[in-house]
Symmetry: C2
Subunit: 358 residues, 2 copies
């Protein structure tokens, strides 16, 4: 493990993105998104993805200095063309628009096509929560999840986030893939040589597997709920709803048409579909934030099954990680990440990060 | 099993509701909602609930002839007081309003307080789909589901529905509890003397149980995803989102404050929170319905794991059941349902249903 000053990690990401042609603002916005994931402990969506973004710019699939366009709008909606900009650029554009519309009409619903990978959904949903609204964000992703009873993946991990502000500094923060787990958890078990939990992954024969080697090869994730007997079709249904709001509504790539993201040369722009919603809570019953705080505090007061494991609310873990990272002013990375970042620095002729041993 | 002409079953339900004082329109609307659930094979939400509604009216907790009130509205939103009317009455009111607002502003989002049990959520979401829109419906329910790591239930089965129209007569129809299963599935296993699937229910000790007797006594359902290792906290998070949209936004009873529904005398009105959303798909990319049809047909084309079990789309099962019931013109009930309906007819001095043996 290696420790890096948060500022230096962010500087490094900005420099890399600028080195391949991104302007200062899009580079900074993308770096802020990635560093936030790292601070929250969601390293899979942090610096870990930097090289993929860099590569998408280098190969022309991503056009970081384009401007997003509103293609159609009404009081409460907008259909946006992200024009292949970086995920952070278009997501700021869309969520700002949703918040503005919600401020006037009560709801803002923006679906965009032509998008690139836009990091943790919670980052976008939380933007609305900072304005006192309920925020929601959705994106489609590359196929990994089959329909219940089916062998081939047809939908992605299709994450969704719902964030709502509470009184007394509470924040309801749900940010989840609609698959049971993300692929990273399978990798961890594989490295440990330990079996998977039934309900995580499926083999190429279409049967649930607990063998991490088989699951790593097959790359087929079960939806939230797992197999049919434990209602996996509900998790699949939710992944499908995310796709309805994103690719199907926005007319981007959708479902099995979404490309696999890799460092390969060539290929078409990702053309992802994304969706951003803001709901103005002041249009409903007074006291919303008090009730959010009360219900979250009630959950935490519930007697735990294991005395040593307290009940947590959605977002408690992310918040603790973030607060810890901010109090230290550093982020921590795996050695493999440190190594690949150093190689990237060299390749792009960018000042590498200053790393101290953890 | 007993077979009843659909028209006669509906007539019987209308008569029972009128016998305790409901006007003709609210009685008919409630009966249409219940018969639809029976036709779709969701008998738990059909005639099975009739006596509870009748009792709520008799005891004054439900006021079927009140009128719903809009308490606050904006271009895209409304906050409604259902004023304790039957669930069907307020849900028609709210969804009609959401559709109207979506027609003009692009989105209609209506959250209501003062509601009663409003049957299958899909009935309400589908109303918007019939107008070419994406429809969504949510309701809070009595506590049955604990937070992950916790012992006591704090949220209900909190169902959600998302329905979207497709070309070629396709209909994406997702209607699901956010718990792994509904309580009825545990009862079925108990009657069969068979163990539960791990991930359905929790004992009073807070541990996952597969013992149907213990689960029946404890009445604690696990969220979609089951225990912590299979990401049950995501299902809990979704149940919480439903509560945010319903009770927390509308200022009704919420979470652990929601009453248990029973035939007991006295008690307060249910004061449930409900939420109805319509999204006008014509505000986004042209061709929405074509893409809905294409993606659903792709899912059905996927090679099945078991050759005899074809892949289904959300809503396919309900649709087949409904078409079958409609072609026969009859609905089928369990003997226990036939018996309790006959007793109810006698008690209310209403003409009983004509039953033929199945």
């Amino acid at each position: 493990m290696g420790k890096v000053l948060t500022q230096d990690a962010q500087r490094f990401m900005v420099d890399c993105l600028k080195a391949v042609g991104a302007g200062k603002k899009p580079a900074l916005q993308q770096a802020e998104l990635l560093i936030e994931a790292d601070k929250m402990g969601h390293h899979s969506h942090g610096m870990n993805r930097l090289e993929l973004y860099v590569n998408d710019i280098k190969t022309g699939k991503c056009q970081p200095n384009n401007e997003c366009k509103i293609l159609k709008e009404s009081e409460a909606t907008a259909w946006v063309d992200a024009c292949n900009v970086l995920g952070a650029t278009s997501s700021h554009f869309c969520m700002d628009l949703a918040i503005k519309k919600a401020g006037k009409a009560g709801v803002g619903w923006v679906s965009s096509k032509g998008g690139n990978h836009n990091g943790i959904m919670g980052f976008w949903a939380r933007k609305a929560a900072k304005e006192g609204m309920i925020g929601m964000a959705f994106t489609n992703t590359s196929p990994l999840c089959p329909p219940t009873r089916g062998k081939q993946p047809v939908l992605g991990t299709n994450p969704l986030s719902v964030v709502a502000p509470g009184a007394q500094d509470e924040l309801f923060y749900l940010d989840m893939a609609t698959t049971a787990v993300a692929f990273g958890k399978i990798e961890i078990q594989r490295r440990k040589g330990k079996p998977l939990h039934p309900g995580w992954a499926q083999g190429t024969d279409g049967k649930i597997t607990v063998d991490p080697e088989e699951a790593s090869k097959a790359r087929i994730l079960l939806p939230l709920g797992g197999g049919e007997m434990t209602s996996g079709y509900k998790g699949f249904g939710l992944a499908a709803v995310v796709e309805l709001f994103c690719g199907v509504l926005a007319g981007s790539k959708y479902g099995h048409h979404v490309r696999t993201w890799s460092l390969a040369e060539g290929g078409e722009p990702a053309n992802l579909g994304q969706c951003f919603v803001a709901v103005n809570t002041s249009c409903f019953a007074p006291g919303f934030q008090d009730r959010v705080a009360a219900i979250m505090q009630h959950w935490r007061s519930i007697e735990p099954t294991e005395p040593c494991l307290r009940v947590k609310c959605p977002g408690d873990r992310e918040r603790r990680n973030k607060e810890e990272a901010e109090s230290k002013g550093t982020v921590t990375y795996l050695d493999s990440q440190i190594k690949s970042s150093a190689a990237l620095a060299k390749k792009l002729n960018v000042t590498p990060m200053q790393v101290t041993a953890e």
